[in-house]
């Protein structure tokens, strides 16, 4: 059972992702910000991290940086959720250690396919 961590400050977005993932048998956990996300990563060690870039307090990029710092960034499959016009952030994040990206709005089916692909 793959463990997927959803990190997004938007309730509705989070809900969409979790509902989508619920259609398949995935173990889903949620975090509303980067700080909580890091804690959960440390605790649960998910297989996939779905990471929204734009978040208060600690954004996606910072999470990845932190993971990189800790040297564990490659232990996880990180998918960053980007909005249009975040080209630089996207590239930076990918460089830092993100593996994939998904730009909003995305189709849930698309998400499922991607997760499947990764795993």
């Amino acid at each position: 059972m793959a463990k997927i961590l959803v990190v997004d400050d938007e309730d509705t977005m989070r809900m969409l992702i979790t509902e989508t993932l619920a259609l398949e048998d995935y173990e889903v956990s949620e975090a509303t910000n980067g700080k909580l996300a890091l804690e959960l990563i440390k605790k649960d060690k998910p297989d996939v991290i779905l990471l929204d870039l734009m978040m208060p307090e600690m954004d996606g990029y910072q999470v990845i940086s932190k993971l990189k710092e800790q040297g564990i960034v490659d232990d996880f499959k990180i998918v960053i959720l980007t909005a249009k016009g975040q080209q630089e952030e996207k590239e930076a994040a990918l460089e830092q250690g993100a593996d994939h990206f998904l730009s909003k709005p995305f189709s849930p089916m698309q998400l499922l396919d991607l997760v499947e692909e990764i795993l």
Binding site: D9, E10, T12, M13, M15, L16, E19, T20, L23, M54, P56, A83, K84, G85, K104, P105, F106, S107, P108, M109
Partner: protein, 919 residues
């Protein structure tokens, strides 16, 4: 044909001339005749000289040119036979080949000589003799060649006359000489005296030597008469000139001396019946001329008559007290006591002439003096004028320096001073400057100076229409000087001017145009009240120069005023726009900043270093490279100007966004930049705005995308999967909610747009504020956990306003309170009013707003810092929209808040529309 005719006439004329000479002359021409004058005595002998002169004069008188050969026998000194023989020899040789046409012989010796030798010397030559005493008519030798005049001396008449004149005479002494004629004379005297024997005693002496004569003369007693009948010699045996003889003798004696020869007269003798040698000469010549003309000597009678006249010396007469009327009739009195005039004729004439000359000189001198004095006057006059000119020129030179760089106030003073100096120098009564206001078609007397007793006219001469004096303006526009020496002489066209001047008693005036930008700026002039003045051209020219000086000064002052205005404007503009000015001297690497530049960064101009490195150091490191690159590009000429947006550090260490724009204004010959000038514009606000905009855009994108994403996502789930009904409902509800959110967002945007383009029209009606508040609360109470309370001070809160818009404002305020305060906290909405307006307050107990944020709250897209922190959604447009709405109603919107102490948002609506200020 013409030529021959001319020649004919000429020939005829010549012939007539020739014939006429023949006809008019009744004698053959006598030119080239040669006459021998043979004189018995010597050359200087008076008697001979007189004869000789008489001969020559006569020939001259007759207009005959003959040539004379003169020989003097000098027989007073030599008269021996041997001598004559020698002479003959000499003449023979001398005149061997000579043939004379005629010989004139004077006195006995010459005649005798000829009688002896003529046949050998000059045979067949006619002879005319004269002055001969002993003429023997029966001399054989006298042939047909001879004719002449015999000297007949009349002793009787002389003696008789003398005795008459000296009645007391008792002795006559006659003195003759020992010459040949002397002997004859003795005879004659004796004969004559014999006739008077009864009456008087007489003696006859024969002397050669003057001293013997003298002796005799001196020994004479009174009552004697001397009869001088000879010519005497001195001790050397030289003949004494006859004038000396007579003079000498007359000095030696007191007795009267009489004579028979004219050559003694005037030299001391009283007179007598005198023989004239001259007369003999003329007679001889006349006879000669006849002979030369063809008559034979034999045909010409020998004159035997007397050639004598009574002649007396007036002065000697006076000596012997002889009256003129005592003289015999027909006497000639010579040597008359000349009248003073006569005597001093020469002196008289000299004096008269001298006087005339003096008078002439005096007249000339006087004329010169007058001329000179006139010239001096003219010179003085022109000197005066010259001095005057010089003074004027000096004044002008002085004036031209005075007008350099004067400000407006000083200019005024200087002009007045100048007008005074000029008028006083020119001795005018008034001087003035008029300025022409072309736009209004008027002229104004701008400056005036006048003499103490003269009344100033400046106040009367304002706003004069230009067409008052058309004649004057015409001339001035043509840049002609108007010189009025006499006001009466003004032409008809200048009638207006004439009247005006006369009213003020002005007799003469000058008006000089002052050149200006187009045609003339005005004119200046001087008046003279008491007298007419004549102005000369040089002076006028100098006055024209003064006009130009005024013109320049006025122009200068105008420029300076303009310049000052422009500078002020620039300063004001720069200050107003808060633009900093910089001026970079590349060579010296000096940059001049203006005050605004310095202030922009929190400096004063004193504590900023004036060079390029200052500027460079202030640039934000991230922007520096790009900025410098852009600058260099322009310096190298690659770009048209320099423009760069970059951050610069303020004195307090903050970064300020600045727009730098500049341009190279001077390059050297190699196109290297020498001076760059530019501006700094504070674009912090713009940047902030830009930031906010981009933030907004990303926010908006995010805001739109988020609900959109969920709508899309959930709808896809619904489509793709078969879901249980509960799930289905849940999703649908979410979709609905999110769509609404989207709709609101878009509405907000559209509102803002509308507000921006000013398309906000108020739908005014009477609204009830309480109901609006209640409705809003109702909406929120459904979904929200806040405690809503209302406080309405007054009963009915009706006002004329736009229902929807006011509701929107209330909603916005309430929504903010809800967003920015905790769940369950209290939100109080109150309405109060006064006479002028209603006030609605929304009070919450939320996070509050920091003081520094409060002023930005109502700006577009402004979102409080805390909103991002606390994940509070919103567009940042709500308050901006509310503000606009409130302002459109004439009300005000505001906030009272402190961080963490909650906020009170309020707005007012005036009861009277238009009764408040426009937001």
């Amino acid at each position: 044909m013409k030529g021959t005719k001319l020649k004919l006439i000429l020939g005829l004329l010549i012939m007539m001339l020739f014939l006429s000479t023949l006809v008019t002359a009744d004698y053959t021409p006598l030119n080239d005749k040669e006459i021998l004058l043979l004189h018995s005595y010597h050359k200087d002998y008076k008697w001979t000289a007189r004869i000789d002169q008489g001969i020559r004069d006569e020939f001259k008188e007759a207009n005959l040119e003959v040539s004379f050969k003169t020989e003097y026998l000098d027989t007073k000194n030599y008269n021996t036979e041997d001598y004559f023989r020698d002479l003959y020899q000499i003449y023979r040789k001398k005149y061997a080949d000579k043939k004379f046409d005629l010989i004139i012989a004077s006195d006995d010796y010459a005649l005798n000589f000829l009688l002896d030798y003529k046949e050998e010397l000059f045979s067949n030559t006619p002879v005319v003799f004269c002055g001969v005493n002993n003429f023997n008519i029966v001399d054989e030798r006298l042939n047909q060649d001879y004719t002449g005049i015999v000297e007949k001396i009349n002793f009787e008449d002389t003696i008789e006359a003398a005795l008459k004149l000296h009645p007391n005479t008792n002795k006559i002494v006659a003195i003759t000489d020992k010459s040949m004629s002397g002997s004859k004379n003795v005879e004659l005297v004796d004969e004559a005296l014999a006739g008077f024997f009864s009456e008087i005693d007489y003696n006859i002496y024969r002397f050669n030597n003057i001293n013997r004569v003298n002796q005799t003369v001196q020994n004479l007693k009174a009552e004697s008469i001397i009869l001088l009948a000879g010519v005497f010699k001195d001790d050397n045996n030289d003949v004494i000139p006859t004038d000396r003889t007579a003079q000498f003798l007359s000095n030696q004696t007191e007795q009267p001396i009489y004579s028979v020869w004219d050559f003694y007269l005037r030299h001391g003798i009283v007179g007598g019946k005198l023989v004239s040698g001259y007369y003999h000469g003329t007679q001889a010549a006349q006879k000669s001329i006849k002979i030369l003309r063809g008559q034979k000597p034999a045909e010409i009678k020998i004159t035997n008559e007397e050639a004598t006249k009574f002649m007396f010396d007036a002065q000697v007469m006076e000596k012997f007290k002889i009256a003129t009327d005592a003289l015999p009739d027909g006497s000639i009195v010579v040597n008359q006591k000349k009248s003073y005039y006569e005597v001093h004729k020469k002196l008289f004439w000299i004096v008269v002439l001298g006087a005339l000359v003096l008078i002439l000189i005096t007249i000339i001198l006087l004329r010169n003096i007058t001329k000179r004095s006139q010239a001096e006057d003219e010179l003085r006059e022109s000197n005066n004028i010259l001095e005057f000119q010089i003074s004027l020129e000096r004044l002008i030179a002085h004036l031209s320096t005075q007008f350099i760089s004067l400000d407006h106030e000083k200019l005024n003073k200087q002009i007045n001073k100048s007008l005074q100096s000029i008028a006083q120098l020119l001795k005018a009564d008034r001087s003035y400057i008029f300025l022409i206001d072309q736009a209004n078609g008027e002229m104004n007397n701008a400056w005036e100076w006048c003499e103490d007793e003269i009344s100033p006219q400046i106040n009367n001469l304002q706003n004069l229409p230009l067409d008052t004096f058309p004649w004057v303006m015409n001339k001035l526009y043509n840049l002609e000087n108007i010189v009025i020496s006499d006001v009466d002489d003004l032409p008809q066209q200048a009638e207006n001017l004439k009247q005006t001047l006369k009213e003020q008693d002005i007799k003469s005036a000058i008006l000089i145009p002052i050149p200006g930008k187009e045609s003339i700026a005005g004119f200046w002039g001087i008046d003279a009240v008491d007298e007419k003045k004549a102005w000369n051209n040089n002076i006028i020219n100098l006055l024209q120069i003064i006009g130009e000086i005024f013109g320049n000064a006025l122009k200068q002052s105008e420029y300076e005023a303009k310049l000052k205005r422009n500078q002020e404007r620039l300063q004001l503009s720069l200050w107003g726009a808060n633009i900093g000015l910089w001026d970079w001297n590349v060579e010296e690497d000096e940059v001049d900043f203006n005050k605004q530049w310095a202030n922009m960064f929190g400096y004063d101009t004193d504590n900023i270093k004036n060079d390029l490195s200052t500027w460079k150091d202030m640039i934000h490191p991230e922007d520096k490279q790009e900025a410098i690159k852009k600058l260099n590009q322009h310096l190298d000429g690659k770009t048209d100007h320099f423009e760069s947006e970059h951050r610069m550090r303020t004195k307090s260490g903050n970064w300020k966004w600045v727009l730098g724009r500049g341009r190279v204004v001077t390059r050297d010959v190699d196109k290297n930049p020498l001076r760059v000038v530019g501006v700094h514009v504070d674009i912090s606000d713009k940047k902030e705005l830009d930031n906010m905009k981009s933030e907004l855009i990303s926010t908006v994108s995010h805001e739109i995308r988020t609900p959109l994403s969920s709508v899309l996502g959930f709808t896809e789930l619904l489509i793709e999967r078969d879901l249980p009904e509960e799930k289905r409902n849940q999703y649908l509800e979410l979709i609905h909610r999110e769509s609404n959110r989207l709709k609101n967002l878009i509405n907000d945007f559209l509102d803002i747009q509308r507000i921006e383009t000013g398309g906000q029209k108020l739908d005014l009606a009477e609204i009830n504020l309480d109901s609006i508040v209640n409705e809003v609360i109702e909406l929120y109470e459904i979904h929200d956990d806040h405690q809503f309370e209302v406080e309405f001070e007054t009963e009915e809160n009706r006002v004329i306003a736009d229902y929807n818009k006011i509701k929107q404002v209330v909603t916005n305020l309430v929504s903010n309170s809800v967003k920015y305060s905790n769940k369950g906290s209290k939100i109080l909405i109150s309405i109060n009013s006064n006479q002028e307006r209603f006030k609605i307050e929304v009070k919450d107990q939320g996070i509050g707003i920091a003081k520094e944020e409060q002023k930005n709250l109502f700006e577009r897209f402004y979102r409080s810092r805390s909103s991002t922190k606390n994940q509070i959604e919103g567009t940042g447009l709500g308050l901006a929209i509310s503000k606009k709405i409130v302002a459109a109603h004439g009300g005000e919107i505001g906030v009272e808040s402190e961080l963490n102490e909650g906020s009170i948002f309020y707005f007012t609506i005036p009861k009277q529309i238009g009764g408040g200020e426009d937001g």
